[in-house]
């Protein structure tokens, strides 16, 4: 039964090759069928092993389990698998018409799914590296798929910033292998329980975290993200922002579970990095003028909030961070898909030039508004649940609480700015012709509302987290949200709408390619100083 884990990796890969080679015109139907089969396999696998994930461990090829290729699943990886299946469903439906003619696009899209599912299930460190690198290469091609100059340069920037980071991650793996003689995560977790705290071990942690930070777009090393996510096709941006960035966050969880035994995981360092990431993401988002750039910078800020949550182990904040990973995937995909439709109709990316969206396309507007309410943390929408859990965890901690509060105000302001596109008279006619796009957005919006109201069974079923203890329906939270939005409105009309000088300065600030790499080196040095020398 645990052989099914292999099917989850190879079915998309094989189907994608068939799609690429075939000349049949309706290959997108094959893609949907394979996706259906994959979902059924995942559900069967999950129901079979539910409650007993120890036995999912499988070593391929009959090698020694310490060095062979092995796959294993637990609650976390299973929930990520379902999240990625859902995201790919939405993207496949959204691009249903486009995939009709573009076989190579479908090839890369579905191949990426196999690679990503492999990354989630992989139980040996080297395969984590291989899958991550493969995902990087395929994402590069998908970013460059528009074949414009802009997309080529963003793709190359993405590749050249990410590959050295992956090699740094690999160096960390090498150090672990020569300390323990094993690369199997399950075996290593046991060995880490009674380990001597050596400099080599700490250095391996630092190197792995440095690589992961670039993948997850943390504070000083996020320069590639807005470039890549801003120019890719909207469906691809949705996938990148919703899910592929989460590969870094997922590995952050994994590596911290691993190093927990050695005693230096979950440090305050990553809380600080999370705060800086969130604040800088919000600051840049406030200054941007293009629809997709705003959304891309908000991915950075939301990853920062996730990091603030998961940087501590023993409180509920950790679960808040994990839940926020899921909620962010839903609403950010929704916003990117909606923005894609709007850009397609209006033929411009500038927020200032788009007006009257609500009159022109009311259905899309409603979905976008659901996404905006979710990301700003309105009650009864999913972003609210996870943000509140993190907020409860920080309640007694002075400035940390206020840092989150400021970030929330910034997010609210930024989406007040974006919501200006809804106002105004009807400017052009939009016949409701592409049903598939609306279906995909409707499913995502439905997911946002569903998780916002029925989060208790979801979080218990998947993670075994009990969230009833949080009082999330009182009058206070409504008031809190109202205050946040009110401050946001004032801030918008006094500073952002007038486009004051500091805002323009932030918008026009650039960091050159060389300095971006230098910043990565400085980040490694800072990590080393904190984890190796200071403790």
């Amino acid at each position: 039964m645990n052989q099914l884990a292999v099917v989850l990796v190879f079915l998309p890969v094989i189907v994608s090759i068939v799609i690429y080679l075939s000349k049949w015109r309706h290959m997108n139907i094959v893609a949907i069928a394979s996706q259906l089969a994959l979902t059924i396999v995942a559900v069967v696998y999950f129901t079979h092993f539910y409650g007993d994930f120890e036995s999912t461990h499988i070593v391929l090829g009959g090698w020694d389990s310490r060095i062979g290729i092995s796959l294993a699943n637990d609650e976390l990886s299973m929930s990520f698998i379902f999240l990625s299946l859902f995201s790919w469903w939405m993207v496949l439906i959204y691009t249903f018409r486009f995939g009709h003619t573009e076989h190579s696009f479908l090839f890369f899209l579905i191949f990426l799914q196999g690679v990503f599912l492999g990354l989630l299930q992989s139980n040996d460190l080297f395969n984590v590296f291989v899958f991550l690198e493969l995902a990087t290469i395929i994402v590069t091609i998908l970013i460059a798929y528009n074949k414009k100059g802009e997309s080529f340069r963003s793709a190359l920037y993405y590749l050249i910033v990410n590959v050295p980071a992956m090699l740094v991650f690999l160096t960390g793996i090498i150090l672990v292998y020569f300390t323990f003689g094993s690369i199997n995560i399950v075996a290593l977790t046991e060995q880490f329980q009674d380990v001597d705290d050596t400099i080599i071990l700490r250095f391996s942690y630092v190197l792995m975290m440095a690589g992961i930070s670039v993948k997850a777009a943390l504070f000083p090393v996020f320069t590639w993200l807005p470039k890549a996510h801003g120019v890719a096709q909207s469906a691809i941006s949705a996938l990148l922002s919703g899910l592929i960035v989460k590969a870094g966050v997922y590995l952050f969880f994994r590596m911290n579970f691993l190093y927990e035994g050695a005693g230096f995981a979950y440090s305050d360092f990553f809380f600080m990095v999370g705060v800086l990431t969130a604040i800088s993401g919000v600051m840049f988002a406030l200054s941007q003028k293009e629809l997709k750039q705003i959304l891309a910078f908000h991915t950075i800020s939301q990853v920062g909030i996730i990091m603030m949550g998961v940087s501590s182990a023993d409180s509920d904040m950790f679960y808040g961070g994990i839940l926020h990973t899921f909620n962010h995937a839903l609403f950010k995909s929704l916003l990117f898909l909606g923005a894609g439709v709007i850009i397609q109709v209006y033929r411009t990316k500038k927020v200032g030039e788009i007006r009257g969206v609500f009159k022109t396309m009311p259905v899309v507007s409603i979905f976008m508004i659901v996404g905006m309410l979710s990301i700003t943390g309105a009650p009864f929408f999913n972003g609210f649940i996870s943000k509140s859990i993190i907020k409860y965890g920080l309640a007694e901690q002075g400035w940390r609480y206020w840092a989150l509060y400021v970030i929330n105000i910034g997010t609210a302001t930024s989406f007040i700015k974006m919501s200006q596109i809804f106002f105004g008279p009807k400017t052009l006619s939009y016949p409701l012709k592409n049903m598939a796009q609306n279906v995909a957005m409707m499913a995502l919006a439905f997911g946002c509302v569903l998780l916002g109201n029925f989060y208790i069974p979801f979080s218990e079923g998947f993670f075994g987290i009990r969230v009833e203890e949080f009082d999330l329906t009182s009058f206070d939270v409504l008031l809190d949200y109202g205050i946040t939005v009110a401050i946001g409105l004032v801030f918008y009309f006094t500073v952002i709408a007038r486009d004051l000088k500091p805002v323009r300065m932030i918008r026009e600030s650039r960091i050159s390619f060389e300095n971006a790499n230098l910043v990565f080196l400085i980040y490694i040095v800072a990590l080393t100083t904190y984890f190796v020398f200071l403790s």
């Binding site: 100059g149 340069r153 190359l156 292998y177 060389e514």
Partner: protein
């Protein structure tokens, strides 16, 4: 070869990345970093007088075969990355007429 020397190779690659404005040179810097990492891994698994890890009758002292197996994979991935980035370099040169990051990133995209 000393592990310190391989570390120096990695540093040379990072030096290239963080000082050169040329796109082609940054691609090569990535390749250099990768060579350094591969050398480091092979080095740590190797020792003086060890024989090649192929099963035979007189098996005395062989080097650790796992690093070699893993590094083959890394080399394959690395060549893919190099090929892909050089292809993108050509495309960028066609679109912008330059291989300098500063010029390429500053340019507004021309509608074609």
């Amino acid at each position: 070869m000393n592990p310190i020397l391989t570390f120096l190779v990695v540093l040379i690659g990072f030096y290239g990345l963080s000082t050169s404005d040329n796109i082609i040179k940054s691609v090569f810097s990535v390749t250099i970093i990768e060579s350094g990492v591969i050398l480091l891994f092979l080095n740590l698994g190797n020792f003086q007088g060890g024989s090649i890890p192929i099963l035979s009758e007189d098996l005395v002292s062989i080097v650790d075969p796992l690093p070699q197996a893993l590094m083959i994979t890394t080399i394959v991935i690395g060549s893919t990355v190099t090929a892909l980035s050089l292809m993108l370099c050509i495309k960028i040169f066609h679109h912008y007429g330059s291989v300098k990051w500063k010029e390429v990133l500053a340019r507004k995209d021309v509608k074609s």
